[in-house]
């Protein structure tokens, strides 16, 4: 037994030691204009599957700065890692409401726009967003909307409103997204309220409407929804636009709409934490990510909509002209970005818990 164990350990260990050699970049600090030499590496903290992996080595090749790359699964997990201290990150990718929270808590550094000339490629609508109204802290990276994905081969009625998700005709054919803000937000907009409502009566109305809807819902789930929609396990689902683009590739019967009552627009932006000691290098990275050819690689890989207008023109027609990937202008008037709810989160999450426990 002992020998079996040792043998396995040694063999597996050897295999992986030999399989992955370290490929640390050789450092060539280029000292122009008598500035301090560049740091040899930066620490980047991003969502999983939210960058084309080759982009990182391209950055290292061009600048000589290595990228220590780490990943997170949610804004909140990232936030706690930064908040508790002991984290040494130079670039983060939080979403709208999280940027607002981090700004209000003094956790982000003001950007030096001289180092980010590629900002001019960002579409004008993504500047001056409510979470960073004076454009001091964040550079938009990816964006999208939250709406209804439906199977045109099954749903024979027009889909234009959140109401269809409350129609008993589609009982057990509906997938809802398993996240409090997004799903409560849809319910709030359906009732004519703001996504960012902090009125307890509106929250309770949204909660009650979701409890009423529960018998119709096949499942609350996350990224698996698109897999099930592809094979026709359900007829209607709430998803992000980027996932809809993806699902439609595998099943052309699928379509995605932004409901008339309005919905959420999300923006994932690049920011620099205040604790950084490598702000100039971090800004170089952000500038690099905003360059149209690099933004092109990333949006092709991730399939979320780029915020880069120059990149949009470079995309193949099936992406550029796809109204899911880049909706028509009038859609923007129905969109609302999340804001941080502050202490009201307690009530909000409690209402959501009551939805999930109600059965």
């Amino acid at each position: 037994m002992k020998r079996v164990f040792m043998l396995l350990v040694v063999a597996v260990g050897l295999l992986f030691f030999t399989a992955c050699g370290e490929n640390e970049a050789v450092l060539q600090p280029d000292t122009d204009d008598g500035e301090a030499p560049l740091a040899s590496s930066i620490n980047v903290f991003n969502w999983g599957e939210f960058i084309d992996p080759q982009v990182l080595s391209m950055f290292t090749q061009e600048t000589g700065i290595a990228v220590n790359y780490s990943m997170y699964a949610s804004n909140e997990e990232m936030y706690q890692r930064i908040r508790t201290g002991g984290a040494d990150f130079d670039v983060l990718f939080p979403s709208d409401y999280m940027i607002q929270r981090m700004i209000s808590q003094g956790m982000l550094a003001r950007l030096n726009w001289d180092n980010i000339p590629n900002r001019e490629h960002i579409y004008y609508r993504f500047w001056g967003m409510p979470f960073d109204p004076y454009d001091q802290y964040s550079v938009p990276y990816m964006w999208g909307t939250f709406g209804i994905l439906y199977n045109t081969a099954i749903v024979d009625e027009p889909v234009y409103s959140w109401d269809i998700l409350w129609n008993p005709r589609w009982a057990n054919e509906i997938f809802m997204y398993d996240a409090s803000r997004d799903t409560m937000g849809a319910a709030l907009r359906r009732l004519g309220f703001s996504l960012n409502s902090t009125n307890i009566e509106e929250i309770h109305a949204a909660r009650d409407s979701l409890i009423e809807q529960r018998p119709l819902v096949r499942a609350f789930a996350g990224d698996q929804i698109k897999d099930w929609m592809i094979v026709g396990d359900g007829a209607l689902a709430t998803v992000f636009s980027g996932d809809a683009v993806w699902a439609k590739q595998d099943n052309p019967d699928l379509n995605f709409i932004v409901p008339i009552e309005g919905t959420q627009i999300f923006l994932d932006s690049m920011v620099i934490p205040i604790t950084t000691t490598r702000q100039r290098e971090a800004e170089m990275f952000i500038n690099f990510m905003t360059r149209p050819d690099i933004a092109y690689l990333n949006t092709r890989y991730i399939m979320y909509s780029t915020t880069n207008y120059t990149t949009l023109q470079m995309l193949p027609d099936y992406m550029k002209d796809c109204t899911i990937y880049w909706p028509p202008e009038e859609i923007f008037y129905r969109l609302e970005a999340f804001e941080d709810l502050g202490d009201f989160k307690e009530e909000f999450e409690r209402a959501w818990t009551e939805v999930l426990v109600a059965n």
Binding site: W47, S70, A73, T84, D223, Q224
Partner: protein, 263 residues
């Protein structure tokens, strides 16, 4: 005997069914886990070009092995120590030992993070990273080893150890010659469970690691918003094949040894 083997085969099939599925889907052209879009090796190609995953595999294996060895040593020694404690004290220590088992991962993760950060600031040196990640895995593995070794100690005749001492054995010799062989099966299963836990852990790892040091679990969980990349299926398939080949070789060798011994 046939009924027994049939039952065992059924359970083994149950355990391997999802593994077979993910092996099949590792050859699927589509990213989807649900529908088959034709045979392809693209995920294997992409896997070998993905430095992030390769580095994560190495961290996972190293942390798995080191934390298993350390936790098994600490846990086995502690179990022997606990078994000799007075009744009341033993109850308390066993209760505290089990606390990490009953804690939600996030509580363990955040409380250990706070502890590590406190110590780092106190000393004024060090960083969250591989070391703290490894230490936290040892911490949550130890109770499982103790729980695996304890039953064997309880079954053991307590007088054996004293008898060995009476016959002139040194305390360490008595431990090595008398106790260890008796509890060995418990040590082995404890080690196997510890390795399993280490490979699967996400939440504690996420909060106790530093920038740039990641294991596979962190990467896989981080993919949850976009969907797990099929490269992970390809990787799982490869790891699985390696394990199976090794098992087969060991089995063949054991058979040969058994034959030689009987001949």
């Amino acid at each position: 005997m046939i009924a027994k083997k049939l039952y065992l085969a059924l359970i083994v099939f149950f355990l391997y069914a999802p593994i077979l599925v993910l092996m099949v889907f590792s050859f699927n052209y589509s990213r989807s886990q649900a529908h088959w879009a034709g045979f392809s090796l693209r995920w294997y190609r992409e896997l070998f070009n993905d430095d992030q995953i390769m580095r994560a595999v190495r961290n996972t294996v190293l942390i798995g092995i080191f934390s298993t060895v350390a936790a098994t040593a600490i846990g086995a020694a502690a179990a022997v120590g606990i078994s000799k404690m007075g009744r009341r004290f033993k109850g308390i220590v066993m209760g505290v030992t089990q606390l990490p088992v009953m804690m939600p991962d996030i509580v363990t993760g955040i409380s250990l993070r706070l502890l590590f950060i406190f110590v780092i600031r106190f000393i004024g040196a060090g960083n969250l990273g591989f070391g703290t990640l490894l230490l936290s895995h040892i911490i949550f593995n130890v109770p499982y080893v103790i729980l695996s070794v304890m039953p064997k100690l309880q079954q053991m005749d307590g007088n054996l150890y004293e008898a060995a001492l009476d016959l002139g054995s040194t305390p360490f010799g008595a431990f090595h010659k008398v106790i260890l062989p008796e509890v060995w099966p418990g040590v082995v299963t404890g080690a196997l469970l510890a390795f399993t836990l280490s490979v699967d852990d996400f939440m504690v790892s996420f909060f106790t690691t530093g920038s740039g040091v990641e294991n596979l679990s962190i990467q896989i969980f981080s993919m949850a918003r976009r969907g797990v990349n099929p490269r992970i299926n390809a990787l799982s398939t490869l790891i699985f094949i390696v394990i199976m080949v090794l098992l087969f070789l060991v089995h063949k060798r054991d058979q040969r040894l058994a034959r030689d011994n009987s001949a």
